[in-house]
Amino acid sequence: MIRFDYARPADVSEAVRAGSGEHAAFLAGGTNLVDVMKENVARPLQVVDINRLPLTDIEAREDGGLRLGALVTNAATAYDPRVQQRYPLLASAILAGASPQLRNAATNGGNLNQRTRCYYFYDVDTPCNKRNPGEGCGAIGGVNRIHAILGASDQCIATHPSDMCVALAALEAHVQVTGPDGDRAIAFSDYHRLPGDEPWRDNTLRSGELVTAIDLPAENFSTHYTYLKLRDRLSYAFALVSVAVALRLSEDGRIEVARIALGGVAHKPWRVPAAESLLQGEQPGERVFQAAAHAITEGAVGQGQNSFKIELARRAVVRALGQAAAGTPQSQTDKRIA
């Protein structure tokens, strides 16, 4: 592995100071950063270990929501009784990802900031605009089964690999950050970005900014939700396509609020407000589900090997909407799809 300086700040302001160097990287659980350092993909000169920062709590918020500390592990978040009871969509998405070992080490802040799993990004002997701006993209015209069908650019077709983030997008969480210019909150849909002509930028975090917490709003969709993840093997594999659905139904069974977020298909969790409003005021049913599935995948473009994802995503949306409307969320233990 590469050589680097190591710092272990004890408080947040010290961490921000240490992390604002041009070649500094924050280290949380290490399950992604250590991996990319081994591959020579990330080459920080300074590694700033943030594990001693007091960002390890899950707390109730005054508005009825919940604040998840950036350093709470993915496992501790998913098994927290408040998360399990009130935000089962989030618990389900986390438990659909990685493995128990990885979830014990992975943190909430790290999960948001994990890098793509594009094969070319990891292989320094191939061209990649995300790793080396201007070098070209090996995946376009290459092996691209896992790549994006929505929101890609002619410079990068990578996807964001997180499951947790797909649920956070549907729940409309906020990301709390602090940095050299002070604190700010970022709406989840503004946190990750599309590759455009700056594919090296995964998100809108500014240099030196540290994620301190993720805020979940009071509305938790604990009755009508599902996280449906489709992949090449049933566990311990990244999503080819995943769907988070959260619905609020009225007393007569109509859809009052619908949220649909897709994972595995774009550089960020994919939401289309127009697709969600097609469901508003409607009785749940195949016809409106199909309409929403087509609207959320509008403009989808296959790259060859991943073209199957377009139809897969549509079918997954229809199935997930059915699961959520019926109140029968996908089990992350028994993987049969009901």
């Binding site: 300086d5 290490g30 250590v34 990885l102 014990n104 080490a105 566990s235 992350q332």
Partner: protein, 177 residues
């Protein structure tokens, strides 16, 4: 702090101004307190195998994709290959050597033998540490839970059915009064 590594902007090469000092790391390993000198980029896996000669913990993929390096930190399982040792100051590591020894087998080791839960044996230390983590964590109630919660450990010989039997047996024994 003066950085010990800088970037030479003309050549783009990384230049070490001086050798980066090792750090002092205090760690409890299998019940024994150790004070170690560790370079910041050393993973827990390399520390265990190369410095402490605890070679029961295996290096499979070295990227968190196989589970052969699973060990327990304060009772919870992690992949030792993706953990920088210096980040574990003051914590407690348990490896397969700390769970049981020849003549004094851990119940999981005995159950793995009983159920023929391995063939080549390379993944077995990681499987057993993972199973102990699963039991400690307390989220598994039945066979389906065991299978899902053991899915972070790959077995190329495909002994999964017997591994699940062995783990389930020990899990259920623990439940009895």
């Amino acid at each position: 702090m003066n950085p010990a590594v800088t970037l030479d902007r003309t050549s783009g090469r990384r230049v070490a101004a001086e050798p980066i000092a090792s750090l002092t790391l205090r760690l409890t390993v299998n019940g024994e307190e150790r004070v170690l000198q560790v370079e910041p980029w050393t993973t827990l896996l390399d520390l265990l195998r190369d410095k402490l000669d605890l070679t029961g913990t295996k290096k499979g993929c070295d990227h968190g994709q196989c589970g052969a390096c699973t060990v327990l930190i304060d009772g919870r399982r992690i992949n030792a290959c993706l953990k920088l040792a210096v980040t574990l100051e003051g914590q407690e590591v348990t490896t397969i050597e700390g769970l049981g020894q020849p003549g004094n087998l851990h119940p999981l080791q005995a159950a793995f033998i009983e159920h023929d839960a391995f063939q080549c044996g390379y993944c077995t230390p990681g499987q057993i540490c993972s199973a102990q983590g699963l039991i400690n964590e307390g989220h598994a109630r039945n066979r389906a839970d065991v299978r899902e919660q053991m899915s972070g450990n790959i077995c190329r010989c495909g002994a999964y059915t017997n591994i699940a039997d062995a783990v389930l047996e020990v899990l259920e024994q623990g439940k009895q009064p």
